[in-house]
Amino acid sequence: MKTTATKKWMTLQRRETVWGFLFISPWLVGITVFFLFNLFEAIIFSFNTIIVDPVAGGFTMDFVGLSNFRFILLEHGSYNQQLVESLTGMLVNVPLIIFFSLLMAVLLNRKFMGRGLVRAIFFLPVIMATTAIQSTLELTMGMMMGGVSSVPTEVMQAQMGFNANSIAMLVTSFGVPIQVAQYIIAAVSALHEIIRASGVQILIFLAALQAIPPSMYEVCQIEGATSYETFWKVTIPMVSPLILTNVVYTIVDTFAQSQVVQTAHNQAFVMQQFGVSAAMSLVSSLLACVLLLFVGWIISKRVFYYN
């Protein structure tokens, strides 16, 4: 039984504080010990050479200043190239994934037969997102071209007279800048990757579309807006907060699968250069975070919050 003294001390505010901290206490331990501390150590490690001593146990650090960073940026064979490729790849793919998933969400939001089935299929890539399965599935791409036609593409080109560059030439002859044409061709040839990477995004957009009050569309209909106007004036502003969410999700997801991460992993666990690997992870994460903040800042200026 509580005495009156403790009751007075336990105001509602204090009790909420105590219980709140009790509920989040497991996470509080985890975030300090396994997240913040490790993040802090990752920064320390990147300025040191780590020598692991498995016999005596533990590891020793040897301060080397900026030499790890100098090594990965100036001397390492492929790191800086992979870094640039990953970042430019992100800049190319993220808008494509966002546009594609928004388009698909709008299409899936219509009422049609077999809607549930199509939605289930669109979500399949998320279920099978493991490295071994993905790399094997990529191998099969050629097989779906068919039995006889699985002969080398050069032969097929000669037979069918089809060449992807001919489309590029066609498009550019219409006066489209060559860069735009190249971007479109890159997008089309990466279609499989884009479809695979946009499962979660489609679902998030779909949920956002269904959350738009129907009365808004009724107003548009009564006021005589075309469907094009309705899309830009109602649909886009209403889903814009989720565009931000999806951009963040896509950048994080793309980064985790990028070649840079793999290189850092190998540097640590194959070549045992832990300090160098920490520097690699740090540089690439920092750049990804800068990109994230920059894109987030641009989008958040244009985001419209309904409530």
Partner: protein, 323 residues
């Protein structure tokens, strides 16, 4: 809905502009045929994209049951002429499939349940209690979602290898490393699950808790007996996602349990292992066994997905990531 509103407007406009040229029935037909054409276009896009998603799975299954002789025969497309169990049998043998599958399912389910218990507690704490610092702490949850684990994998590995700074305790290779991460809510995508639970609990009416409080239940009892039974959609979503992501994960398992014998990791070495065990030099044969292995790895998760597909898709919508 968007489209129909636009079309209604267009048809109406036509009626206004050219009332004498076309009578009403013709107008209706033209509107309907435009709708029909639009539906055809949508159907073509949806079927095309679905095909791109499904075709690799079909190709894998076709190769898995195909005789190696058929694989090099350019006249055979998808449907094998000579059906064989040989590839599947080899894959089952090399991966020790049934034991591995049982181990992987138990591992994934165990960790998924652990995720549900811990992250629902933390999510409830963030959703319902106002305490100083709850805002910045929740921002830290978001940061832990956004910062990739690869950023701090080296210190994480070394700290588990020499746990508590001593050389005697090595948690790498045991379930404890990943277990501790999951128990403290910083495991595989734990931040996302905390977010899902927090959003879900915030969406529940406060009155049911107040009723429980007035009836004399403490906060923990309220959480356990009132909130948890009401949180079934969020629980199912987190359970399914955690299960699938643990089933597919190779990063955490290969980093913290290098000698694990889980399905997703064994799959990576399946081809070379097969060649080593059977002293088989043909890469085509090894590849077919890999296809069979991938098929065997996909089938359990696909079966679960077929039955619980509704919860995956709707769960994400209802769990409150949106809003």
């Amino acid at each position: 809905m968007v489209k129909t509103s636009g079309k209604g407007f267009a048809v109406g406009l036509k009626r206004l502009v050219e009332p004498k040229v076309l009578n009403n029935t013709v107008q209706k037909v033209s509107g309907a045929s435009k709708n029909f054409l639009l539906n055809i276009c949508v159907a073509i896009i949806l079927v095309g994209v679905s095909f791109v998603i499904i075709s690799p799975i079909l190709a894998v299954i076709s190769r898995a049951i195909m005789d190696p002789m058929d694989a090099i025969n350019p006249l055979i497309y998808l449907i094998p002429q000579n059906f064989t169990w040989q590839n599947i049998n080899d894959a089952i043998l090399v991966m020790d499939y049934w034991n591995t599958l049982g181990r992987t399912l138990a591992f994934s389910l165990g960790f998924a349940l652990l995720h549900v218990v811990i992250t629902s507690l933390v999510g409830y704490g963030f959703a319902r209690f106002k305490f100083p610092g709850s805002g910045p702490l929740f921002a830290l949850v978001i940061i832990s979602i956004v910062v990739p684990v690869q950023t701090y994998m080296v210190p994480m590995f070394l700290n588990f290898r020499f746990f508590l700074g001593s050389g005697n305790i090595n948690l790498i290779g045991s379930l404890w490393a990943l277990g501790l991460l999951t128990l403290t809510g910083v495991g595989l995508r734990s931040g996302l699950y905390i977010y899902i639970f927090r959003q879900f609990f915030r969406g529940l009416p406060k009155e049911i808790e107040e009723a429980a409080f007035i009836d004399g239940a403490g906060p923990f009892r309220t959480y356990l007996q009132v909130m948890i039974p009401n949180a079934t959609p969020a629980i199912i979503t987190v359970l399914l996602f955690a299960f699938v992501w643990h089933y597919n994960d190779t990063f955490y398992t290969s980093l913290l349990m290098p000698n694990n014998r889980l399905l997703s990791v064994l799959l990576i070495g399946l081809g070379p292992n097969f060649q080593a065990i059977f002293n088989e030099r043909s890469p085509i044969l090894a590849q077919m066994v890999v296809f069979a292995g991938v098929m065997l790895a996909i089938i359990p998760i696909l079966t679960i997905y077929m039955f619980l597909q509704r919860y995956f898709v709707e769960g994400l919508e209802r769990s409150g990531i949106v809003g």
